[in-house]
């Protein structure tokens, strides 16, 4: 536990990555379905529905959660737009070598738009990042940073996988998607661990990012804590004094928040955001992998990488907006002057949710109840 508290996810992430490398690939077929005939497994497919062996008809998935109406129609439209955009991107990539700079610019724009839409649908990153910002004390800049970093990790994860496994090692796309699927399990374990770390910090009376928020205690955090901070309100004298970096010019606490903000990114907060984003983004997007493989075969891998990063930028935009929305919702809900106890209860609930979500997904994947596929 001492290890965990001093270096939250560092060592274990390394361990998990090793696990990902040695784990067997190829659990899913090209259609994201469980591969190979094993009669025992036929009864439960990806969504857990019952299926008879042989050429059975797929039974509809149970609709446990259904999206309420105005939102549903809007999201349904995004699916149609995604199809249209995807068609355009793949056409454009197919003729890109002849299309020149104009064609490349178009691909980047389309990829960005695709990323924005792609991230609007349900996804694991939004469950984790959304829960975090709905329940934990955090700042707007943290929401932006964690979302952007997670999206960047996700893009880099796809680029690294394809570059190394397909570009250098020349393994098949089938096995490559299998490795991407393994990263999914690793990602969920890391998410569960992250939830556990937050829980532990909260249990010790610290903030989710490892800061001490109890009133009157010594060196406080750099996070400006109040949920309802009014301009001109008096801040505690130690607000901008970081615990792990004694600031000789502590008179700066009187400066506006923007000046003090960079200091807060250092240390525990930075590391928390770093590992949270990394664990969420570790699982690459199958769409990005397919497009990268396409570009690799097509002789325009460079534009594939740029398109993947553009897609990531689009995802970052959407996820940032969602995390800010969640942060706003939390602040609105807690506006009624409800006290620290409520806030702490909510923080516990959120951390528990993140941990259970990661654990449940990892258990479902590792037990073979659901087939690992890239996101």
């Amino acid at each position: 536990m001492q290890f965990i508290s001093s270096h939250p996810l560092r060592g274990i992430c390394g361990l998990l990555l090793c696990l990902a490398c040695i784990a067997t690939a190829g659990a899913a077929d090209y259609f994201g379905r469980e591969d190979g005939p094993s009669p025992a497994a036929v009864t439960a497919s990806a969504t857990g529905q019952q299926q008879a062996p042989g050429a059975a008809h797929p039974v509809e998935p149970p609709s446990a959660v259904s999206i309420p109406e105005p939102l549903r129609s809007a999201l349904a439209a995004t699916i149609r737009w995604q199809s249209a955009l995807n068609r355009e991107i793949r056409h454009a990539l197919a003729r890109q070598p002849d299309a020149g700079w104009g064609g490349s610019g178009l691909i980047v724009l389309l990829s960005f738009a695709y990323g924005v839409l792609h991230a609007l649908g349900p996804g694991h990153g939004k469950v984790v990042i959304g829960s975090y910002f709905l329940t934990q004390r955090a700042r707007i800049s943290h929401g932006l940073m964690m979302s952007g970093w997670a999206a960047l990790v996700q893009a880099l994860s796809a680029i690294a996988l394809v570059s190394v496994l397909a570009g250098v090692l020349k393994i098949s796309a089938h096995d490559l998607l299998g490795h991407a699927g393994t990263l999914e399990a690793v990602s969920y374990l890391a998410i569960a661990l992250y939830g556990a770390v937050i829980l532990r910090r909260l249990g010790k009376g610290l903030d989710s990012c490892g800061h001490d928020h109890r009133a009157g205690t010594r060196p406080a955090h750099a996070l400006v804590p109040p949920l309802r901070r009014k301009p001109g309100a008096r801040l505690p004298a130690n607000t901008f004094n970081t615990s792990n970096r004694p600031n000789p010019s502590s008179v700066r606490y009187a400066l506006p928040q923007a000046v003090a903000a960079p200091a807060s990114i250092a240390g525990a907060t930075g590391s928390t955001l770093f590992w949270a984003g990394a664990s969420v983004g570790l699982r690459p997007c199958a769409g990005a992998i397919i497009v990268l493989l396409f570009c690799l075969a097509n002789g325009n891998y460079g534009i594939g990488i740029i398109a993947t990063l553009a897609m990531g930028a689009g995802v970052a935009l959407t996820v940032s907006a969602i995390s800010l929305g969640m942060l706003g919702m939390q602040r609105t809900l807690l506006r009624g002057g409800r006290g620290k106890r409520v806030q702490r209860g909510i923080a516990f609930a959120g951390a528990l949710l993140i941990m259970l979500f990661g654990l449940l997904q990892a258990v479902l994947l590792l037990s073979g109840t659901i087939t690992p596929v890239a996101a």
Binding site: G32, A55, P58, E60, P61, G123, C285, I290
Partner: protein, 200 residues
Amino acid sequence: MLARIMHNSLPILLFTLLTAPLARAHPHVWAVYQTDVVIGADGNFKLHEAWTFDEAFSSMLLGDLRPKADIKKPLSSKEQARLKVIAFDNLARYGYFNVVRGPRGPLKFKPASGFAARLEKGKLSYTFVLEPADPQDVRKAPLDFGIWDETFYIAMQAAGDDTIAIRQSPFKCTLATREDKGTPLLYGMVFPPVTRLTCR
């Protein structure tokens, strides 16, 4: 502290269970399908299907088939046979994503026959024939036809407005297409089209 955690955990556990499948849904592969129904004199039917995949997915499959994913060279019969093994036969376990509902519920199919694959303008197409495991009589009751992947990893899109077209029928048949509200895909973001075939 512990009591509070315990108190919080139950609703959270429920919420987690409900949101768990949310993480696993996005379209990544797009395919356009064209299904022709051929009805025999006995009233039984066969489905002649053609699926066309997008360029990137086609290229990825070819990359595993050929050392260099050359999308211009036609597929040899050997390559088609290999493709069937690596990227088609497994779909039998999922009913080839075909859904046909009769009065007594969804039908089962025999393994697909007549599989062929070809390349056209950088896109890979599959053609194959599906036949119900138990012979049907289309005159007895209307049948609903649709094709979808309920995980939505692959987005199946009908080539036309209807999910099926009647290629051959000794009877007078009509088609009526609607959104299947009973099948919410992606948590209701998508309702797949189903086409009702009524013959007399």
